[in-house]
Amino acid sequence: MSTEKIIHGRSAGFFPEFSRRPGNNHTNMHYCPGCGHGILHKLIAEAIEDLEIKDRTVLISPVGCSVFAYYYFDCFGISVPHGRAPAVGTGLVRSNPDDIVISYQGDGDLGAIGFNEFIQTANRGENMAVFFVNNAIYGMTGGQMAPTTLPGQKTVTCPLGRSVTNEGYPLKVSEMVSALDSPVYVERVALSSGKNILRARAAVRKALNNVIEKKGFSMVEFLSGCPVNLKMNASQVNEFIDERMCKYFPLGVFKDIADTRDSIKRSSGVYAPEAVRKVLYPQYSSSSVSRDFQNPSPFFAKERRLKVAGFGGQGVLSFGHMLATMGKLRNFNVSYLPVYGPEMRGGTASCSVVVSRKKIASPVVDRDCNLLVVLNDESLEKFLPELKPTGVLIFDSSNVHVSRLRRTQIAYCVNASDLARELGDLRYANSILMGALAKLMDDFFLQETDKADFERVVEEAIRECFADKSEVIRKNINAFYLGKQAASRWNAPSDGQ
């Protein structure tokens, strides 16, 4: 009696069924008949199965004909923008150093739009395998010239053949990357004859073994056939690869120094919530209240949307930052969104601050503003329309000339810039304006206990914002109380108030 065993068959590195693929063919891949991508996919699937790395392999699908690679491999997958696979791969492997990252890329993807990502990643020696499919053409988009198109080769964008005078010579990626010190393994193979394909099979495994052993960056370049765009049949494509491509792109090992390198040990990524929290919310927080404290005034029950605007250099952004810090110190959710020009001084600057007990949907304040603080006329003109009919305005009466407001709108002012100049530095203007805000809050919105707390939280925020500059802290606190004294209501109380 005898039975049969399979010695070569469909790999378990593929999904048993390609159910992610749209349509009703779930057994074949989408590639054209005879396409080199299919051959390489089989080599990779078999290696993933044999090396038992399914559960920690991430295969990055590029843009190009292999954009749907994630339909097929029974491992993790991620699709990325054109040319960005090595950059995304860097993020993956830095945050999860045990991942086996495969960056699968075409010649347009790697050699053109993504060359910088590729070469920088190689130069950093990221622990990944780049499988580079050089088919001398842009396959997916219909056969345009690639950086690797051969001299004289006709494509739809060089119908007379690539001219080295106009387009230069093809890019020799393996030669270039092997000139760098970081990569450990670079080989060029061909997906043509059976013998060459077996060589390619060994190269896939070698590159993946290097990743498993954390030896760093490996790249294998696969000369590959695109029979459809070359308008050739199987044997013609093999001849094209073996006779024409191999002449310009010689096969062989360009670099193999993995044995001389130790495994990479990098400090692991900061995917630790506690570490991230420490960076974002440092422990020097000077809040004097407990984490469940809530200011009782009903004013704080609703989301409050604030905007501060003026010239760059007037302290507009630090005012906004101070408001957000005050909210944070009193257990609100806060957002702070600065908007400024490239110049550091002059120009206009504004910032949106949202303070809320609930989650904040958007940090942008461009309408329904509850509090507008302006430090110049231009900003008043620009942002007054965003103020709610019931919103309040605070302005620097040294610079801003308010002519008319809605009857329901309350405005407070103080000659902040003039007072700041008297104190010796224009940058105190914002603390003086904070004084005007405190006065306005006292007069309209705060219950008795919150009035004292408002002063306290301003001091705490100044301390936090100017941490370890004690002189600056003292002067800003003085400026705040000076502003609170000097501020007054600009418009007469309207009927009923």
Binding site: I6, N25, N28, H41, I197, N233
Partner: protein
């Protein structure tokens, strides 16, 4: 005893590219004339001289179009 091998073609999974035909050193595979459901002319077998080298399998771009079997004697 000589080892025995055979290749099996999944008719519906072959795209008729003929890569395997050129790769087989034994001339076991030839282009067929029948179109499958994908409208490709699938390869066909010619004779039984398969030596199990696997070259057809590795040159074929389709995951499951070709399978190579080896006959094994039961240990009894």
């Amino acid at each position: 005893m000589a080892r025995k091998f055979r290749v099996e073609i999944a008719f519906e999974q072959c795209k008729g590219c003929a890569r395997c035909v050129g790769a087989c050193p034994q001339g076991v595979l030839v282009m067929g004339h029948h179109l499958n459901r994908m409208s490709f002319p699938a390869v066909e077998l010619s004779g039984n001289k398969c030596v199990g080298c696997g070259l057809c399998f590795y040159t074929c771009p389709e995951p499951g179009a070709l399978t190579i079997f080896e006959e094994v004697e039961d240990a009894k």
